[in-house]
């Protein structure tokens, strides 16, 4: 994927991707966590790491002027996670409509690069369908492209 993104730090299990957002509001520690929901099914959680407690939080708006770079970093972390965890599936939905829209933009902005690698579906109007730009989805699900 060619878009500018942050370097990420992951653990040996490959279920956490940490990176630092750098912008006018300073350096903000962010984390992407893949949490098991069921066998081989993982939930994607993106948040800011609290400076004092180290906990992952979602209730802060950082506005650090690097949204596209963060979205490309999230998209790449999903590609990397699925390439390292064979046969796994990633589910993602925002905590709010605005956050879900961010995930949607993350996919749409990187769709050209993602589609040869991942198969992505979105949930809208009560059913799952292959991801299309311009549809407002409630949730997303991704797995490695079976054609690979």
């Amino acid at each position: 994927m060619q878009r500018e993104r942050y370097i990420t730090f992951t653990n040996e299990e490959g279920n956490v991707y940490n990176f630092s957002s750098i912008g006018p509001n300073g350096i903000i520690e962010k984390a992407i966590q893949f949490i098991p929901i069921a066998n081989k099914l993982f939930n994607l959680v993106l948040g800011d790491r609290d400076r004092h407690t180290g906990e992952l939080r979602d209730d802060v708006r950082t506005n650090n002027g690097d949204r596209d770079k963060i979205l490309a970093t999230v998209a790449y972390s999903v590609v990397d996670f699925l390439s390292c965890h064979s046969g796994c599936i990633v589910y993602a939905a925002g905590n709010t409509q605005a956050r879900t829209r961010l995930y949607q933009m993350s996919i749409a902005n990187n769709l050209k690069e993602i589609t040869p690698i991942l198969h992505i579906e979105g949930f809208a109007n009560g059913h799952w369908e292959p991801f299309r730009i311009g549809i407002s989805y409630e949730a997303f699900i991704a797995k490695s492209n079976p054609k690979l």
Partner: protein, 58 residues
């Protein structure tokens, strides 16, 4: 963080670090994962996304 106990991988822009904090059990990720579980239970997974093993032909 990355200077000690870290190794570069051939994965572009990904560095593996030992002893990275796992936030799975923090309140926010736990709450989000419960919501995700409920969503999947209610709506299921799309066709082709289930983890059921294919039955081999006799």
């Amino acid at each position: 963080m990355a200077r000690n106990n870290s190794r570069k991988t051939n994965r572009d822009g990904v560095i593996v670090v030992k002893h990275l904090r796992d936030n799975s059990n923090d309140p926010f990720p736990r709450m989000k994962t419960e919501k995700a579980k409920a969503f999947i239970e209610k709506h299921g997974l799309p066709e082709g996304f289930t983890n059921e093993k294919k039955k081999s032909k006799p």
